[in-house]
């Protein structure tokens, strides 16, 4: 279980998170929605300790992550970055198998490669892509390699930052199904950021909406449509008219 308690983060005068409180129960799929630039990616990075919050607490299974042993803590996580963040000096399969080639999960090269190719297949990439370099792939393909890397070591908790952005509708469907599968079959806890409402409906158990640095609304995905919250309703319907300003 992940808990964020009154987390604040500012970059200079830009107050991005202004008291985020959110609980993600174990084994559930939480989707975070919210306008562009509201701090969704920053929130994920705070949990991972890549950005240190100014104030507030983040707990993993009741333990403060700031005090946890870093290696053991990170070994439980997988993360898909918004921009892919593939290592461009390594080939695709070496990227995917990064964790399996070094450190405590190290295994023989042939075996690591096999696992990598299997994970690539699950995100809809052929074995031929395995020996290419990230720079030789399209944007959507890079995204999927990043996804394969995030799930390669079968982590307990997985963060997906916009997994379906830049993918065609069919491939987006495949990825949505994959994320659902990972949560249901492997019992993983997932936290996904997305702007794609069909993706929200496909993968979420719960939805949280971030607005103005706070969680505006959170609840089960089934209650999303008749929440009665004008902000959430405007976001779901994608209307230009409503309480959320278009310029922010």
């Amino acid at each position: 279980m992940i808990e964020m308690r009154d987390v604040h983060k500012a970059f200079g005068i830009n107050r991005v998170l202004r008291g985020v409180t959110l609980t993600i129960p174990r084994g559930e799929s939480m989707v975070i929605i919210g306008g562009s630039g509201t701090g969704k990616s920053v929130a994920l990075k705070c949990i991972l300790g890549l950005i240190r919050p100014d104030t507030g607490q983040i707990l993993l299974d009741g333990e403060d992550v700031a005090r946890a042993e870093r290696d053991a803590f990170l070994a439980r996580f997988g993360m898909l970055f918004q921009g892919g963040a593939l290592f461009d000096s390594l080939t695709v399969w070496q990227n995917v198998a990064f964790r399996l080639l070094r450190g405590r999960l190290k295994r023989p090269k042939a075996q690591a490669r096999e696992i990598a190719i299997e994970k690539l297949r699950r995100v809809g990439l052929t074995p031929e892509t395995a020996d290419l370099f990230p720079a030789e792939l399209s944007g959507g393909m890079q995204k999927r390699v990043g996804l394969a890397r995030a799930i390669a070591a079968a982590p307990e908790i997985i963060f997906f930052d916009e997994p379906t952005t830049g993918l065609d509708p069919i491939m987006a469907g495949v990825i949505n199904e994959l994320i659902r599968e990972i949560v249901v079959e492997m019992g993983a806890t997932a936290m996904t950021i997305t702007h794609d409402m069909s993706s929200v409906r496909a993968i979420a158990d719960k939805v949280a909406m971030l607005h103005n640095g706070k969680i505006r609304w959170t609840g089960p995905v089934a209650e999303m449509d008749d929440s009665g919250d004008p902000y959430l309703t405007q976001f779901i319907t994608g209307s230009a008219q409503g309480p959320i300003e278009a310029v922010r």
Partner: protein, 259 residues
């Protein structure tokens, strides 16, 4: 009033910023030294750093030193002629190259080539979140990126400097024998008899320090690169400038220490 104080505030601000940078470089340096010989050690990264820093710098260093050695011979001949001491060319070329110009010019050329490319590579990784990705994949960027490069540079720049010394002396030899009328055998004997072990040791020791500085500055500025292409550009410039200045400053201190 603020109008009068503004220049003082500006001086104060940049002084504080400079002190802060010195502090953070020192901390980074201490961290690097602390982790230098502790596992895990990434051997593949170390080998590719050896190749990039050492092997691929050979042409640059070789060309620099052959021309420098040649020019040095001409200058010493011209200077020596003023008090009828033209015959000291081999000895002074050897001393000048081995004790001073070999390690310093090698260090500066490597600073231009290597610290720039390290800073650009690591800076780009930082900007594209690859450093963050490393962390989430349970890999310490200091161990994976910095240590192999710093260790490789510290070990391989002395070798480069040794090759540079030899090529520099060779440059002096070529010019002296072909243009200044020295006999090849005599020139070589004079050079060889004159040099002492201490000269070579100091040359290599200086080069090791310069190698360390170059890689450390490249990594430091890359890791602290600002955002976007502009941030990487600035990191690259800072890496080259700071490593060059540190090389020249530490060269003076080391020379004081050795002689």
């Amino acid at each position: 009033m603020t109008f009068v104080l503004a220049p003082f505030a500006a001086v104060g601000r940049s002084t504080l910023a400079m002190l802060a940078t010195i502090g953070s470089v020192a901390i980074y340096c201490a961290l690097t030294l602390n982790h230098l010989l502790r596992p895990p050690f990434y051997f593949r990264e170390f080998l590719s750093a050896l190749l990039a820093i050492g092997y691929f710098s050979l042409p640059v260093v070789g060309l620099t030193m052959v021309f420098t050695g040649g020019a040095l011979a001409l200058q010493i001949y011209a200077g020596g002629a003023r008090f009828n001491a033209e015959s000291v060319v081999p000895q002074i070329v050897a001393i000048g190259i081995v004790r001073e110009l070999g390690p310093v010019l090698t260090g500066l050329m490597v600073a231009g080539r290597v610290s720039a490319s390290i800073a650009a590579e690591i800076g780009t990784m930082k900007v594209t979140e690859q450093i963050d990705a490393l962390v989430t994949l349970s890999t310490n960027p200091l161990k994976y990126l910095t240590i192999p490069r710093v260790l490789a540079a510290t070990l391989v720049v002395p070798l480069l400097a040794a090759v540079g010394d030899i090529i520099g002396v060779l440059g002096g030899y070529l010019v002296s024998t072909s243009r200044l009328g020295f006999t090849p055998a005599v020139y070589l004997t004079n050079t060889w008899d004159f040099l002492e072990a201490a000269d070579m040791v100091s040359s290599l020791a200086k080069a090791a320090v310069f190698g360390f500085i170059v890689a450390l500055m490249g990594c430091y500025h890359g890791m602290n690169s600002g955002r976007g292409a502009q941030g990487v550009g600035r990191a690259t410039t800072n890496a080259v400038v700071s490593s060059s200045i540190l090389i020249l400053a530490s060269n003076y201190l080391l020379t004081e220490l050795f002689f």
